[in-house]
C-alpha cells in the first residue's frame, strides 16, 4: 500500500473502504470520482476493479441528487459511503443532508439513514474548495461529524462510521492524503465514534483540538513545556457530538481550557465546545477559557495570506502562556 510498510492517510481510508466492502455486502460506494475517475492518490483508487460497479457506483457530478440517492440506497437496506469531490460541495446538498439527518427522528425510529459522507477539504486552490464545512453542520440535529488527524484514526473511524446507523459527515484533510504515514496493525481497527484521544498528558491546561490543528497544538505544547507549562492535548476526533467525558475528566484536573481550531472563529465547532464547557465546568475553571481560531474570513489562496489564517505554533503557545499568566 505504501512504502516501508507505512500506510498513508489516503491509504488508510482506502483500506477502511476495502475492508468494509469485503465484510458487509450492504456497504457500497457512490460518488463522482470513485471509479475510473479516481486517480492513484485518491482513496477510492482501485476499488471499482475489486468490487465491481454494483458496489462502487460512479455517477455524474451533482451534489444534491448524490445525497438524495444515497438516502434511497439506505432506505433499501444498503450502507452507502458517499464521496464528495470536495467538502464545500456539501453546501449544494445541504437540504438533502439535513433531510437524511432528520429521517430517523421524523419516522419515529422506524427508518434510519446509515450513510457516510466522505468529504475532503483544504487545498490551496481556492477559498471555496478549501473550506471545511464543519461550522455549517454544527447545528444539524441527527448528524455526527468526524475529523480524523492520523492514518490510524482515519482507518478506525471510517470503519466505525460505516457501521454506525446514523449519517456521518467524515471530513478528510486533503493535504494529509499523501503527507501522513503510519505503520498500521493488520488487525481489524475500530475507533468508536464520539471517543476523544489524549495525544499528550498534562496537568496545567486542557487543549482541545482536532484535524490538522492537532499537530500545531502538539508542537506548541512541547515548546511551552520548556517554560514549565504542562499541556494536555486532546484530539476530539469526533467533533459532534464530542467526548464530553474525557474532556470533563481533564478539565477537572487542569482547570484551564484552550480550544484550538483551524477554522474561522465565529460559529465554529469550537463555539459549541466552549459553550458547553462554560456551562458544565464554569465553576471549575480557574481562568476563563480561550479559543484560538482562524479569523472570520474564507481560506485565502496566497501562501502569504494562508500562513496568517490558521493558528500557528506561535499563536497557540502565546495563548498557552496567556492562560497560565491569568490570575486564578
Amino acid at each position: 500500500m505504501a512504502l516501508n510498510d507505512e500506510t498513508t492517510y489516503a491509504g488508510a481510508i482506502r483500506r477502511a473502504l476495502r475492508e468494509e466492502l469485503a465484510r458487509d455486502a450492504h456497504v457500497c460506494l457512490i460518488g463522482e470520482e470513485v471509479g475510473f475517475g479516481a486517480g492513484g492518490e485518491r482513496p477510492a483508487y482501485g476499488l471499482l476493479g475489486e468490487f465491481g460497479p454494483d458496489r462502487v457506483m460512479e455517477v455524474p457530478a451533482s451534489g444534491s441528487a448524490l445525497i438524495g440517492a444515497a438516502t434511497g440506497l439506505a432506505l433499501m437496506g444498503l450502507r452507502p459511503v458517499v464521496e464528495l469531490p470536495f467538502a464545500a460541495m456539501s453546501g449544494e446538498s445541504f437540504s438533502q443532508i439535513v433531510a437524511a439527518a432528520q429521517l430517523h427522528w421524523r419516522t419515529a425510529g422506524t427508518m434510519h439513514a446509515p450513510l457516510v459522507i466522505r468529504a475532503p477539504y483544504g487545498t490551496h486552490a481556492d477559498p471555496w474548495r478549501a473550506t471545511s464545512p464543519d461550522a455549517w453542520f454544527a447545528g444539524v440535529p441527527g448528524l455526527r461529524i468526524v475529523i480524523p488527524s492520523t492514518p490510524f484514526d482515519a482507518l478506525g473511524l471510517l470503519k466505525a462510521a460505516i457501521r454506525d446507523n446514523n449519517p456521518v459527515l467524515f471530513l478528510e484533510g486533503h493535504y494529509f492524503y499523501r503527507r501522513l504515514r503510519e505503520v498500521l496493525t493488520e488487525a481489524d481497527v475500530l475507533v468508536p465514534l464520539g471517543s476523544a484521544e489524549i495525544r499528550r498528558d498534562g496537568e496545567d491546561v486542557t487543549l482541545l483540538t482536532w484535524g490538522a490543528a492537532v499537530y500545531t497544538a502538539m508542537e506548541a505544547a512541547e515548546r511551552v513545556a520548556v517554560a514549565g507549562i504542562s499541556t494536555e492535548v486532546i484530539d476530539l476526533r469526533t467533533v459532534l457530538p464530542y467526548d464530553a467525558v474525557t474532556v470533563a475528566e481533564s478539565i477537572r484536573r487542569t482547570g484551564r481550557v484552550l480550544i484550538v481550531q483551524d477554522a474561522p472563529r465565529t460559529g465554529g465547532i469550537g463555539a459549541e465546545i466552549a459553550a458547553s464547557i462554560a456551562e458544565a465546568h464554569g465553576a471549575e475553571l480557574r481562568v476563563p477559557l480561550m479559543r484560538v481560531a482562524a479569523p472570520d474570513v474564507p481560506f485565502p489562496a496566497a501562501l502569504e495570506l494562508a500562513a496568517a489564517f490558521a493558528p500557528d505554533v506561535m499563536r497557540v503557545s502565546d495563548a498557552l502562556h496567556t492562560i497560565m499568566e491569568k490570575r486564578d
Partner: protein, 340 residues
C-alpha cells in the same frame, strides 16, 4: 343485461375512496382539528389510481403531498393516514410530522415524503434495485413546479445516465399555488425528457384508463432496462390549492365537467358496468371505511410530550432496513385493496 363484476370497478372504488378520505381530511382542516393546510388532490384521483394500477407489489413509490390515492393503492390503511394527519401517537411518525409525510419501506414500499422533492431518493432506491438485480421499478410523483428545482434535474440526469428503472409522474394541474400560470416555457413538461435523452409522454390525467395504459407502457420500458421515463399527466385541479383559497362559482362548474370521477362514472354507466344500486353499495362501503378511520384517529391518543427527544440517533441494533431482497412477483394490474 347484467355482467359479472367488472374489474374496472376496483379503479372506481379506489378513486371514490381517495376522494372521500380527502374530503374527510378537508373537513378536519376546516374545523381546525388539523392545523396547517391541505394541498388539495381533488382532480388528481385518476393519476394516482391509474398509475398505481400498473405497478406490481414489489415496486416502490415516492408520493408527494397530494398523492393520497397512491398511499391507499399501496395498502396503507385509512386509519393510519388519518392518525398521521391528526398527528396522533399511533401515527406512523408518532405525531412528529403531519400531512402525508410518512412512509413504509418494509411492506408498502412507500418512500417517506418531506417538503423536499423525493425524486432523488427514488433514484437511489432504483439504483439499489438495479445493483441487486431486482426487477422493481420506482415511481416518483411530482407536482409541476417541482420540475423547476435543481434536485429534479440532477436526479433525472443521474437516473438517465445509469439507465435506472425510475418513472417520474408529473401531474400538471395548470395551477401554481393560487395562480393559473405556467412557471416554465415549454408547451409540455414532458418535453423536459429531451434533456435526459429519455422518453417523455403526455397523457390525459383525467382519464383513468388512459393513465393506466400509458403507465403500463412506461413500466414495461423501465423493467426492460431502458432507463427512466417522464410521464406528464395533464389534469385540472378541481379545488383551491389549499382550503384557504376561494373559488368562483363559474370555475366550480367548469371543474365539475372535468372531474375524473364523474368522467369515469359516465364511462362505466355507458358500459353498463355500474348501476345505481352498485353506486350506492360502493358509496356505503366507502363511507363506512372513512368513518371507521375517523373514529379511530379522532379517539387515538396524542403523542406524549416526553417522546419528543426519543430517536435522536439510531441505535447500533437498528434493524436492517428495506424490503425483503427477493425479486418481486411480476403481478400487475387490478388487485384487491389490502386494507379492506
Amino acid at each position: 343485461m347484467s355482467t359479472p363484476p367488472n374489474p374496472l370497478l376496483a379503479l372506481y372504488q379506489q378513486m371514490s375512496l381517495t376522494r372521500a378520505l380527502e374530503d374527510a381530511i378537508r373537513d378536519l382542516v376546516r374545523s381546525r382539528q388539523i392545523l396547517g393546510t391541505l394541498h388539495v388532490g381533488r382532480g388528481h384521483e385518476a393519476v394516482t389510481t391509474g398509475t398505481t394500477a400498473a405497478l406490481a407489489r414489489g415496486d416502490i413509490v415516492a408520493p408527494g403531498g397530494r398523492d393520497l390515492g397512491v398511499l391507499l393503492a399501496r395498502g396503507i390503511a385509512p386509519r393510519q393516514i388519518l392518525a398521521q394527519w391528526l398527528r396522533r401517537a399511533a401515527a406512523p411518525s408518532g405525531g412528529r410530522t403531519g400531512a402525508m409525510h410518512f412512509g413504509d419501506m418494509r411492506d408498502a414500499l412507500v418512500i417517506p415524503a418531506t417538503a423536499l422533492p423525493t425524486l432523488a431518493v427514488a433514484v437511489g432506491t432504483a439504483l439499489a434495485t438495479k445493483a441487486r438485480g431486482e426487477n422493481r421499478v420506482t415511481v416518483a410523483y411530482l407536482e409541476d413546479t417541482a420540475t423547476n428545482t435543481g434536485d429534479f434535474h440532477e436526479a433525472m440526469n443521474l437516473a438517465a445516465t445509469q439507465d435506472l428503472p425510475v418513472i417520474c409522474v408529473v401531474a400538471t394541474n395548470t395551477y401554481v399555488g393560487k395562480l393559473a400560470t405556467r412557471p416554465y416555457r415549454p408547451k409540455h413538461l414532458a418535453d423536459r425528457a429531451a434533456a435526459y435523452g429519455i422518453p417523455g409522454y403526455v397523457v390525459d390525467g383525467g382519464d383513468v384508463l388512459a393513465v393506466r395504459e400509458a403507465m403500463t407502457h412506461a413500466v414495461a420500458l423501465a423493467r426492460a432496462g431502458r432507463g427512466p421515463v417522464l410521464l406528464e399527466a395533464k389534469i385540472f385541479r378541481v379545488a383551491g390549492q389549499t382550503e384557504a383559497d376561494s373559488v368562483p362559482r363559474e370555475t366550480l362548474d367548469e371543474w365539475r365537467a372535468r372531474d375524473p370521477i364523474e368522467r369515469f362514472t359516465r364511462h362505466l354507466l355507458a358500459l353498463d358496468a355500474l348501476s345505481d344500486a352498485l353506486t350506492y353499495e360502493f358509496a356505503a362501503a366507502t363511507l363506512a371505511t372513512v368513518q371507521d378511520a375517523l373514529a379511530y384517529a379522532q379517539h387515538a391518543p396524542a403523542p406524549d410530550p416526553l417522546s419528543l427527544m426519543d430517536h435522536r440517533f439510531a441505535p447500533d441494533d437498528a434493524l436492517v432496513m428495506g424490503p425483503p431482497v427477493e425479486a418481486p412477483v411480476g403481478m400487475t394490474g387490478e388487485r384487491v385493496l389490502p386494507w379492506r
